[in-house]
């Protein structure tokens, strides 16, 4: 299941959905808004998406993750719009029979989401300025 949402992510619901009699391990990843980065204070983040493509990419990533690891459940929710400090911008929950698969799948999912899903984060800083974050400049660029 993948979802883009403008509301706070309901983490307890996701965990309940992923915890099933046939699973033995659940791994949850939450990406949260950090207040200080390199000494500058962030007030909030705002996420923008190319929603149609982001949903398509997330569905493809769920399929690919399930192809790579035997998952009982795989849930990805990304928040859009303004996200206050310490709230989750992304939640990934995977449940598996064996724990190693859950850690590997969760880490691969968040790494790949950060590279290949068209979502952008703008920082609102305490000095009133805003800034687009570009953590991963693309190497294999179009010339």
């Amino acid at each position: 299941m993948i979802e883009l949402t403008k509301r706070p992510i309901e983490v307890a619901d996701l965990l309940a959905r992923a915890t099933r009699p046939e699973s033995g391990a659940v791994v949850l990843f939450l990406g949260t808004t950090r207040e200080f980065t390199n000494g500058r204070r962030t007030v909030a983040l705002e996420y923008e998406a190319y929603e149609k493509m982001a949903e398509k990419k997330l569905i493809e990533l769920e399929i690919e993750t399930r192809r790579r690891w035997p998952l009982v459940e795989c849930l990805v929710v990304h928040r859009l719009g303004r996200v206050p400090i310490a709230e989750a911008s992304v939640a990934i929950v995977v449940s598996t029979t064996h724990r190693t698969d859950a850690f590997a799948a969760g880490q691969w999912l968040i790494d790949t989401i950060k590279c290949d899903v068209p979502i952008w984060k703008q920082e609102y800083l305490s000095d009133g300025t805003t800034e687009w974050i570009h953590p991963n400049p693309i190497e294999g660029k179009i010339s």
Partner: protein, 81 residues
């Protein structure tokens, strides 16, 4: 033919709009579309080395042909998660 390009994040801010319409010849590639976008909005030149293109919501390389019916978007470096 006229091609409408969707713009997001820093690209949208540089262009001052969430899309830009440019004129390209009938058998234009993504590379030619990109040159047309930069010609129409020179300020966008600086983000091109780090940006990708999508056609109908899939990433495409610069040699792919565009069509009037294609949904095209310029994808600046993503920062979700």
């Amino acid at each position: 033919m006229k091609i409408c390009v969707k713009l997001f994040a820093v690209a949208r801010e540089l262009a001052g709009d969430s899309e830009i319409i440019v004129e390209v010849h009938d058998h234009a590639t993504i590379a030619e579309l990109q040159r047309a976008v930069v010609a129409a909005c020179p300020r966008m030149d600086r983000i091109m080395p780090h940006s990708r293109w999508s056609l109908d919501a899939d990433f495409v390389t610069s040699d792919v042909y565009v069509h009037e019916t294609s949904e095209l978007a310029l994808i600046p470096p993503v920062s979700g998660g």
